[in-house]
């Protein structure tokens, strides 16, 4: 019994639970942004289950493919695959099973929703991880698109088709993701260089990367604000979004004019908080 528990614990660490939870929460928010009361709990729970499996599956496949890079980087060298606690074949099988189950469940609930979930997984695993990540720093754009798919998928499940609000929601996540990835690229730039992964800091320098982070955060805030207004959030919630956006603007401008590691990391944290508030607004702030 304890061996099974230990194995499950290892598998759990392969799915990057925080990242999976964040992406899952965007999918839930995308669904809640359009669903009519009362909530259809069966569909909502199916969304949570299928998205969880699909996101976990793509993360595990990503970790399987990047195992050589992970082993070279200090930040990731303690992952189970790098340390030899699980075999590559085992991880590949796990990733495939989770992905197939997730996509199968998603298609069963709704074919259009399933197609969006599959597109997200395909872009993340094949376009971002296998094709572009080791070739160009611009691969993060595709990483961003795949990261935006869960929120679009949630919206599609609720309305039945891809609408402009869904696209705007996806753009919001797409612009938010560089804030996250580029901040880590700066923090662990030596790690990435050692592993031979092209990043914005290595290709364009730290200052330019910080400016891209600032611009990207502002674009994310604009997309979030636009989507929130279009969805029809209450006046009070809109006021809160404007107030929080002004804080983001202040930090982004400071990062742009006086780039520094501390302000950059502050912007990253603030942008994450902003994203969390946006998710809550989408889920509960509509009138």
């Amino acid at each position: 019994m304890s061996a099974v528990t230990a194995k499950l614990r290892l598998y759990w660490s392969l799915i990057k639970s925080w990242q999976t939870a964040l992406l899952l929460s965007t999918g839930m928010a995308g669904y809640l942004s359009a669903s009519q009361a009362p909530l259809h709990w069966g569909i909502f729970l199916s969304l949570c289950g299928s998205l969880f499996l699909a996101i976990s599956g793509s993360t595990v496949l990503n970790m399987w493919y990047d195992r050589d890079i992970d082993a070279k980087m200090q930040r990731t060298c303690n992952r189970p695959l790098s340390k030899g606690l699980v075999t590559p074949g085992e991880v590949l099988r796990l990733g495939l099973v989770l992905s197939c189950l997730g996509i199968g469940w998603a298609v069963f609930i709704s074919p259009s929703y399933g197609l969006v979930v599959f597109t997200g997984l395909f872009i993340d695993v094949f376009v971002y991880t296998i094709w572009l990540k080791r070739r160009t720093a611009w691969s993060i754009v595709w990483g961003g698109i795949s990261g935006g798919m869960p929120i679009l998928a949630g919206r599609v499940l609720a309305v039945g088709y891809v609408d402009w609000i869904g696209m705007l929601l996806m753009l919001a996540v797409l612009f938010w993701i560089p804030t996250h990835i580029l901040t880590f690229n700066i923090r662990f730039s030596e790690d990435y260089q050692a592993a031979g992964v092209p990043t914005f800091p290595s290709a364009y320098g730290f200052d330019a990367t910080r400016k891209i982070i600032a611009a990207s955060s502002l674009l994310a805030a604009l997309a979030m604000g636009g989507a929130a207004v279009w969805i029809g959030i209450t006046a009070g919630t809109l006021r809160l979004m404007v107030v929080l956006s002004s804080g983001l603007l202040l930090l982004a401008l400071t990062t742009w004019m006086r780039p520094s590691e501390k302000i950059n990391f502050g912007l990253f944290k603030y942008a994450s908080l902003f994203m969390l508030c946006f998710i809550l607004v989408l889920a509960f702030g509509t009138g």
């Binding site: 919630t237 006021r239 107030v243 804080g247 944290k269």
Partner: protein
């Protein structure tokens, strides 16, 4: 000075209260009054979040003096527009000129009269926030709970004074002691404002 977990909790609670006030606490008023209160509580909210994320270093920024003036000015303009709209144009002129004078004397001119300008603008705005709610409650114009807004005004005045001592390096109150009390003071100020506006609704 490093920010402690307790400070972060105080600041987080203050930011939640300010967010609550922005979202639901100021409904049913004129658009302009809502705008003024939103600016006041919005600056408190963003300031708390920035302190949680970046620590007390943000208080070293030259922007702090200007932003800490925006809070009492916007709240006092909101009070005047809500209860004495006839005085609003004159008070707006005073506030606009006062803020402009603070910005100019702190940035472009770096004049020695900056302290005087700051004291006058802060003092008048602080007196409005402190005195007006007490006057309104004492005369039965608002429910008695509105006095708490006046208490918030007194506390924010104290906060502004402490920040001023810190910025000028006054030996009267050491910086460490100011920073030790600042998050709790900000929480008490915000709580007094939120409670005052909730209990003082006409």
């Amino acid at each position: 000075m490093k920010i402690s977990i307790q400070d972060r909790i105080f600041l987080f609670c203050a930011s939640l209260l300010a967010a609550y006030q922005v979202v639901v606490g100021i409904e049913g008023l004129s658009s302009f009054t809502i705008l003024c209160y939103t600016v006041g509580f919005g600056v408190i909210l963003v300031a708390c979040l920035l302190m949680i994320i970046l620590g007390f270093d943000v208080l070293e920024s030259p922007l702090v003096v200007i932003l800490s003036t925006v809070i009492p000015l916007s709240l006092s303009i909101g009070l005047v527009s809500e209860f004495y709209p006839a005085w609003l144009p004159a008070y707006l002129v005073f506030s606009g000129l006062g803020l402009l004078a603070i910005i100019l004397t702190r940035t472009v001119m770096r004049s020695k009269i900056s302290v005087l300008v700051l004291a006058v603008v802060h003092g008048i705005a602080g007196l409005v926030i402190f005195g007006l709610p007490i006057y309104l409650a004492a005369n039965g114009i608002t429910p008695p709970g509105f006095i708490l807004v006046g208490l918030g005004g007194a506390l924010i005045g104290l906060g502004g004074l402490l920040l001023f001592f810190m910025r000028t390096g006054s030996p009267l109150v050491p910086k460490e002691r100011i920073l030790k009390f600042f998050p709790a003071l900000l929480l008490m100020t915000t709580a007094a404002f939120v409670a005052g506006f909730a209990l003082g609704k006409i």
